[in-house]
Symmetry: C2
Subunit: 426 residues, 2 copies
Amino acid sequence: MVERSRAAPIGVTGEHTGQADPHKRTSDGRAPNALDRWLFRQMTSRLDSSRVRVVLWDEPAPSTTTDSLPVVVRIGDRKALRRVILHPNLYFGDLYSTGRITVHGDLVALLQAAYKYTAEKPSKLERLLRGRRIPTPDLADSRRNIHHHYDLGNDFYELWLDREALQYTCAYYADPAMTIEQAQQAKMHHVCRKMRLKAGETVAEAGSGWGGFAIFMAKNYGAKVRSFNISREQVAHAREWAKREGVANNVEFVEDDFRNIAGKYDVFVSIGMLEHAGAGNYRDLGKLIDRVLTPEGRGLIHSIGRDRPEPLNAWIDKRIFPGAYPPTLREMMDIFEPNGLSVLDVENIRLHYAETLRGWLERFEENVDTVREMFDETFVRAWRLYLVGSIAAFLSGKLQLFQVLYARTGARNVPWTRAHVYEHGD
Amino acid sequence: MVERSRAAPIGVTGEHTGQADPHKRTSDGRAPNALDRWLFRQMTSRLDSSRVRVVLWDEPAPSTTTDSLPVVVRIGDRKALRRVILHPNLYFGDLYSTGRITVHGDLVALLQAAYKYTAEKPSKLERLLRGRRIPTPDLADSRRNIHHHYDLGNDFYELWLDREALQYTCAYYADPAMTIEQAQQAKMHHVCRKMRLKAGETVAEAGSGWGGFAIFMAKNYGAKVRSFNISREQVAHAREWAKREGVANNVEFVEDDFRNIAGKYDVFVSIGMLEHAGAGNYRDLGKLIDRVLTPEGRGLIHSIGRDRPEPLNAWIDKRIFPGAYPPTLREMMDIFEPNGLSVLDVENIRLHYAETLRGWLERFEENVDTVREMFDETFVRAWRLYLVGSIAAFLSGKLQLFQVLYARTGARNVPWTRAHVYEHGD
């Protein structure tokens, strides 16, 4: 039985000594006034000071960047203080990215504490801001949102994703000692085994990424894949790649929204796309699956999710993934329940996503100078915060990772047990 | 990889030749009139006559009871015809039980066809009748409902349940060749492995049955179990049994509703109880789980379910399981989502329930003369219809069987993968 414990800190420190930081701010020469002090006390009164210490711009930044507690958060100027109090979920990210807030110590630990704190006791203002409508993107929204994130340049993602399949989704560490390359291969096998994908079967994929999984299914399982993606850069990359791998005849990449899919398929699979589909569109997604699936068809939806409904973090929504929404299992049932689909198997592998992100972050930091040259220091700090924040979110249970296997209601060709998924050496 | 196909008919015929049937009705000497004929055409116009043929009381019952198609359904008198048209879900059961409707041929095939037909095209009247409120039993309702079914006498259930653990819930045929005894042991191991039950851990069980699973956990996993049940007969049986097995010190059977549970437990488990709890009580059940679970606690809910919400079959509700309700996964989320619980794993093993029921039915028919002596022929026919109808419901996908593994949101001691569940010889 594979056991796993990662009690040790992941060792991500917010500030990296020896790196130039063009954004570092001082106090502008003005000391905090009485209102600043009062606001500061409001913000810090609920913090556990043995874990987190907040200082203002009249104190120097700590010189150490060790993992020891307390983590020190330094607020660099008055405007930063007022903004982070007004809407921490939104402004902390921007202020951290531009260096107006600096974090000295374990950033993962800080964010885990913050998640716990904000989840349990949101302020009235926070509740109000969180209560906004769940976004339901239409086709135009989706194109804009996807372009924002995925068309940053393939070169950028190649710096820190796994080198074999460029998977920008949760890996599966069947063995905890796996490299990220091995774990991404294991993830793709895991999904194909759950679906019992067989040679010659037709697959519709919603969301191709850079094409890694579509090519994997063709090469390793002999499937005929049609894969949909609205990111132009990714589709171009995927087509080239399929040619190089010699599977261009069996993998077609369609630069179109999956909602325009036609034809009949044995399998409908989607890895890491549902987060961008919008909860209001799930029912239509299920209708589409029902329409394109053969009578014995089945499939798998792999998505980031939640234990309870909550909008995406405001900063992530604004700067990283516009329009994204991680659904609860209850919300995901809109896909299946009204559309004659039967849920066969749900697996929650959230800790594997924390591990995947740790792998990405390591590579990112190894290549941080290249990233800084491609973009700038603000981008580096923003991306670091996004990766670290996501680690903290999966560790703390703020985010989940669901794989949902389904078939048509009443299907008789469903797997008898799940033992076949585990009867392999890798 | 274990594959399984049961395309062959299960071989249950509605009428058993050579058995005395004191309820057999004739036409009372009155031939069907014009209205009878018209009603008859309304009822049969949508039937596939190659599969099902319906005859009235002016035709003799077919002498064969083979599995060949079409299945012949004989309606024995005018009142029976009118009732089965008014509300087939409710009256078919009673009319079949009393022999006023007889079925000649494969009863499973008939009921599968009927389920498919009624699910896809319910009449307006049926829709109206199905639209009634989902029952939310209070404590008094629950006691009455449970007494109705489970206090029929332990002797009766011992005639046809597995002989080792008296499990009146879905078995797990890890190997399709298993006997029902083996499959029930495998089910209990499957649940304990999913929960990673360890020696010395405390378990709260909601719904004991005859005590088989509580005793199993104490004997095989060294757990300390407190098990709640409101069926007096079952509790008495369970206490005796625990003494005989020498685990009375580690298993306490409490004759009380699980809602009165107190204390702290490492595990909260419930097999086949949720169906009787009432969908309106799920939120409170989750609150209770949250209250009694240790910080590292976890558990499993095993329940009959649905792919889409629908009330229980009216006849089953009236004659067999008053107040029972099989929830959808969405409805089950009321347990977890509002109460800080995280779903780790859902497995749907509906085909195993069809197999379990087939095992029960075989034993039931082997002992049918004893059952007839205990009760009467109407009871025999009702129970047969219930077992056969349930086989058809699980085969056709009208019913599902969900095992839901959960822990607290953010728990770090959750299983890394599910491989440990499958790393055993049995």
